[in-house]
Amino acid sequence: MIGIGLFDEYGGSILAGICVTLKMSIGGIALGMVLGLVLQSLYKPDNKPFAFLYQLYLNVFRGTPLLLQLFLVFYGGPYIGIEWTAETVGLIGLGLYGAAYFAEIFRAGRESIPQGQLEAARDLGLTGTQVFRVVLWPQMMARCVPAVVGQTIILLKESSVLSIITVAELTNVAMTIAVQSYSMLEPYTILALTYWAIAIVLAGIGSRAERHFKNYLQR
């Protein structure tokens, strides 16, 4: 069997790599969601300067490779006084990158809710927070879940790029094992299967969440 011997020798470092990958992606994705939520809530089509800045942010972060954004901060940052560790650069990089996608997903979700509903809720005497919590948020989530899950899986995979700026996550570990064992096939097969398994689990959680939030959409 592929990789059994490899697990004997490198099992510990592979597990450590999985932990770092999960830590970095969960952190990056959470940061991206919060930032994305903030970005979309600030977005008002009539506020021209902000709409422009919003679009600029989206274009820059979605129009260039994540690897390039990371390199710019990691190697360029210290020249202008930003001396974050590789892990911090990775986390913030993943967050800023993800935010550009999440913002658009949330915006589409919000815009799909008829404006009249919100007005009706306010007329019923609900406060702003109540409107958000009871009317806006559940419906928004229900509509966004599939796209949010998709984006989460994409960011999990993109976190493999952090290996290139010395973050000791799963891909980085596999790279080191490949160098030491003179074999690409086994470490990278294990790598592929691990990411695949995590993606399948995430997709499973996603469809559960979708079912949960769907209740809100039923009439």
Partner: protein, 216 residues
């Protein structure tokens, strides 16, 4: 200190890298569209094994990082007797990757078509293939154009990883220049602008196509 003009001398090298990025991405997108169309038909097939096979393919290539797929295509295939040169390996990996994403995009497009259409086409005397090729596929391509344009942009960005299999594209050129001239900020900003120009131009072409197809 900060001096963008320092990169001017190296612009031809960066543009050569940009050119490689461009043509490799476009080739992979075009091949990936054909691949995705075939996969999409497989996903909708009546044969269970074919459906399963395509579903596993899509799940694998959408569920694993491109960097890993590139390495496996380049280094693992030789052990079963297929040894691809770097450029071919990069294009094959990008195509397989994009084929999975495009397959999924096209499938959701086919699902939007009203069922009655197929019957109407059959009543008009068109064969199943004729209905598929002349009636359904064009509609799906049109409806899914925005998603396909986004996928093109993703592939352009993802092609920044193909130096892992010995192809010199824009990112690798920028990396070499940034680390040998010790001007990372300047080179990565200029490279970012080049990527931005490419991806935004792709978006524009997409909008233009969309507008044209609306009239047609």
């Amino acid at each position: 200190m900060f001096d963008l003009t320092a990169t001017a001398h190296y612009l031809p090298q960066l543009l050569a890298g940009l050119f490689t990025t461009l043509w490799v991405s476009l080739t992979a997108i075009a091949l990936g569209l054909v691949m995705g169309w075939a996969v999409c038909l497989g996903l909708m097939s009546e044969r269970r094994w074919l459906r399963m096979f395509c579903a596993v393919y899509v799940s694998f290539f959408r569920g694993t990082p491109l960097l890993v797929q590139l390495v496996l295509v380049f280094y693992a295939l030789p052990s079963i007797g297929i040894s691809l040169p770097p450029l071919a390996a990069a294009i094959v990996a990008l195509t397989l990757n994009s084929g999975a994403f495009q397959g999924e995009i096209l499938r959701s497009g086919f699902q939007l078509l009203p069922y009655g259409q197929t019957e109407a086409a059959r009543d008009l005397g068109l064969s199943r293939w004729q209905a598929l090729i002349y009636i359904k596929t064009p509609q799906v391509l049109k409806a899914m154009l925005p998603a396909l344009v986004n996928e093109t942009i993703d592939i352009i960005k993802n092609s920044s990883l193909i130096s892992a299999v010995a192809v010199h594209e824009l990112m690798r050129t920028a990396q070499t220049l940034a680390s040998t001239t010790y001007r990372p900020i300047e080179f990565f900003i200029v490279t970012g602008l080049l990527y931005l120009a490419l991806t935004m131009a792709t978006g524009r072409v997409g909008n233009w196509l969309e507008a044209r197809l609306k009239i047609a």
